[in-house]
Amino acid sequence: MSADEFDPMVERLFSRSPAMADADLFAAEVRARLEKRSRVRGFALGLAGVIGGCVAVRETMNFSVSTGLHEGQTLTQGFRAASLTAQASVQSGLDGLGVTSIDLTSGSGMQMFWIVAGALFVLLAAGLVRLSQDV
């Protein structure tokens, strides 16, 4: 038998896998792990959403109380004010670390603040998704 005939024959032999007695049990185990992973992921994402929502609401309400926002002021103004508070907090932290060259209250500094905040949020979300996949 030549190599041209033998190679396809080996492939045919490989393609005929022996039937395994516990094939159904194996499939059931894989399905159980899929279900468990799906539940864990749903729980992790839901929990992250709830925590994020609570933090956002708390920040907004805190600002409203401390600055005495009048009823009727738009939610946009509230978020803007909350963002200014957050920037001020980060700025004071940077000042405390001796990084005074970065001014978050300026236009470019504000942009950088939001870019970094967005990147951190994306990293956190990616980490949560990855964590849920690994469980």
Partner: protein
């Protein structure tokens, strides 16, 4: 419902699995689980490790189901995933660079005179066995195997050739002696 799933083609099941259909994917696991586990055992994995890696491969396959485009058989696609996962597991042991010659005494023919590929593969060394299994069992090309095993392309080709030569030496006499084509025992 189960009967309906059994009537669907692999490509249809994979498409529904890509949309989150776990029952459809379960049917794919039922169809191809034994083939994947069998390949891993032929690559040299012990039964428990083969089952473990096969489960991981199917879980990864579910995540990546959208990548399966149906231009080849689903079995080949999932086998490649499983083979790569197994290689990752054994890579740190560097088992496939060992050049241990196997016992050449036993001829892999069962009572009925049928040739047993699994027994024949045991006469290959680790590197040859892996390369032949990846090439002819998982359908990977030589460059793909070289990349997956982190070996030079020429080395992979040598392993495949030597492995096939050994298989041929063992499988052909049995076939000739029985005067018929070779069957899996």
């Amino acid at each position: 419902m189960r009967q309906a799933l059994r009537d669907l083609h692999d490509t249809e099941l994979a498409a529904q699995a890509a949309a989150g259909g776990r029952r459809e994917y379960g049917e794919l696991v039922r169809r191809h689980g034994s083939a994947v586990r069998g390949l891993l055992r032929r690559m040299g994995a012990e039964a428990s490790l083969a089952d473990d890696v096969a489960q991981d491969a199917f879980l990864q396959g579910f995540q990546r189901c959208a990548e399966f485009r149906g231009d080849g058989p689903f079995a080949g696609w999932i086998k490649k995933i499983a083979a790569r996962l197994y290689l990752k597991r054994v890579r740190h042991e560097a088992r496939y660079v060992a050049e241990v010659e196997a016992d050449e005494a036993a001829l892999p023919v069962d009572h009925a005179g049928l040739v047993d590929l699994d027994e024949a593969l045991k006469t290959l060394n680790e590197a040859e066995r892996l390369c032949v299994s990846l090439c002819h069992g998982a359908g990977m090309s030589h460059p793909e195997i070289a990349a997956a095993m982190n070996l030079p392309l020429g080395t992979v080709k040598s392993h495949v050739k030597r492995g096939l030569d050994k298989l041929r030496a063992r499988l052909q006499p049995a076939a000739d002696r029985n005067g018929r084509s070779i069957h899996v025992g």
